[in-house]
Symmetry: C2
Subunit: 357 residues, 2 copies
DNA sequence: CTGAAAGCGCTTACAG
DNA sequence: CTGAAAGCGCTTACAG
């Protein structure tokens, strides 16, 4: 291995120093923009240019304790059964873009690491990434609360979804507030009395928060809520279709409105209902959560709760960055959400002054 | 900075060694799966587990000359004027996903670094990434041929688009073959006699190759080709609309068919034509290049040349990886493309047995 | 199989 | 402002 780089003729700061006729300390100083005499600076820069020298990041990192890299870990599914899932920027992608944008502003780069749905040794993968970065951003459902807590002992960690542990920070959206608004719209504005919450992964903190808020608010307004294993999805469109198919096959009447744990699930639900000839929203209303880009292009356009997705990513980076640089600061960040009323809930096109930005 | 990590109680291999009652060499061996007595192994693993030790990637990289990281550099535009551009997985995103998938197979992680459209000091940014990675994948138009050649002196480089230099490798698609097929379809099958090539960035090797092939093939079949600065786009949808707007305003008749440098440009062209009430394909036929996910959803569905985009990314990684590990091998890889006939060229829905995969 | 020691390429007090 | 030297946390011949 080492010979691979040797063969490339790996240049070091020593080569530059020799060529410039100065010490390696001076080279380092010039390279890092510390004060030095103009002519020293000039000679070093010329040597760097002529040699095409690129300082080794690993050596820098080892020496000064900063890699200027944050790791992002997420699951990429073999779960895509729908064209829309394969083609669109989904929740994760938009968040990652936000992280990247914020990182760039601080001169950090982003180490992306997707793990398979059925990754055998997740812990090792994550440890490997942790070793290559100054801190980690973990998407939803990457690690248990204990797992996060343990990891956070050795490296700064920010989770998306969930809640802060003593050692880690968390950034999420206001699931509860969003769900409450949504339920009120369905129950009070539309008068639906029978509802269902089609859940995401059972081990997702976001999902649990949404479910709890949903059920509490619905009961408070006297609506019926179907729940239980029959309404267990997995955040994917395919999961949504399967739940609907089973519900229809069971012969039991469908609830008047189905609130899905996220937009992808709603996408699958709407496909499944359409295939069975059940009209949305006339027979069954459907809603989502996230407001991913495709939501507005579904037929009918999806009523959902908008999370500020890009901002979620940017905030996650900023929190992590201040942790890495020990500026310290906030623990838990909760970003506001917004009910976006389109047509899948039963509203007429563009009611309530719902603006498409 | 350093104290930031200290305070976290940064553990080293020495801590593990002490706790396990062995030397650091033994710890290292166990961690790297080299032979050692079962009880040594056990004690080390236990110490690692109990301490929550994560080996430092920078130190490993410095010591053995391998970071297990590849850098990917690309431009992310503030160029998005169309919803579709913001929402969809575009060419770059799909390629990056391919890179990531291939990297994961080799235990590598991917350092993503997007540079702004108007990045002031591109060279420094790229050098910084080069220092953090074992090798670089450069998207189209990141660096001039000279720039690439110089960079490749100090680090393995694979470019997407362009051609291999003595020191760098290149992976691209068969632009020429694709364009030839496309022109033949337009001229021979449809009988169009006046064509235009709406170009991408003038400094893009892919664009140049497509343009040359287009003009050569069109002339060979006796068709007229409009070109020159009036037909200069920039790979973006907005660029496409501007060219069309100007062309219409000039009062000169439009060509019968417009071949765009890529799908995004075609997207803009079709919007612009629609806005002026010019029907596609009846009045003017439009074609793209790439076959990005949205292409089939345009109205009318876009006839284009499909590149195996994911595969492009995977291949780029594989070539880079074999370069990094000195397995050596291929220089230049050219992947085959496929003419995808939809309706924007003037064909009826699903003619020619064109299959949607 | 194991341990002591050198070395990877930088940065940064410390003297001068 | 500059240079000599130590040290960052690993891996890997080299002896034993």
């Amino acid at each position: 291995m080492a010979e691979a780089r040797k063969a490339k003729g790996t240049l070091t700061i020593y080569d530059v120093a020799t060529r410039a006729g100065v010490s390696i300390a001076s080279v380092s100083r010039v390279l890092n923009g510390r004060a030095s005499r103009p002519d020293t600076q000039e000679r070093v820069m010329r040597a760097v240019r002529e040699l095409g020298f690129v300082p080794d990041g690993a050596a820098r990192a080892l020496s000064n304790g900063l890699k200027e890299v944050v790791g992002v870990v997420f699951r990429r599914g073999g779960e895509a059964f729908f064209q829309d899932e394969l083609e669109s920027l989904l929740f994760i992608d938009v968040i990652n873009r936000g992280i990247e944008v914020a990182a760039q502003r601080q001169g950090f780069d982003v180490l992306m690491s997707s793990v398979g749905v059925r990754e055998d040794n997740l812990d090792n993968r994550i440890a490997s990434i942790a070793g290559k970065a100054d801190g980690l951003i973990l998407h939803d459902r990457m690690l248990s609360a204990v797992g996060v807590a343990r990891l956070a002992e050795s490296v700064p960690v920010v989770t998306l979804a969930g809640s802060a542990s003593p050692a880690s920070r968390n950034v999420r959206c206001d699931n509860e507030g969003g769900m409450r608004q949504l339920v009120r719209h369905l129950v009070l504005d539309h008068g639906y009395r029978s509802l269902a919450y089609l859940s995401g992964h059972a081990d997702s903190p976001d999902n649990r928060a949404r479910q709890l808020a949903f059920e509490a608010e619905a009961s408070a307004h006297g609506a019926d809520v179907a729940s239980g294993p029959d309404w267990q999805g997995d955040y994917s469109a395919e999961g949504g279709t399967q739940v609907i198919a089973a519900a229809i096959d069971s012969g039991r009447p469908l609830p008047r409105a189905i609130a899905c744990a996220n937009d992808q699930t709603a996408l699958g639900v709407m496909h499944a209902l359409a295939r069975r000839g059940i009209r949305v929203p006339d027979a069954v209303a459907v809603t989502g959560f996230d407001d991913v880009p495709v939501a507005r292009h579904l037929q009918p356009p999806l009523t959902t709760v908008r999370q500020p997705i890009m901002e979620l990513g940017q905030t996650a980076f900023d929190v992590l960055h201040s942790e890495i640089t020990r500026l310290g600061g906030v623990h838990d960040v909760v970003l506001p959400v917004q009910l976006v009323i389109r047509e899948s809930c039963g509203c007429a096109p563009h009611p309530h002054g719902a603006q498409e930005p």
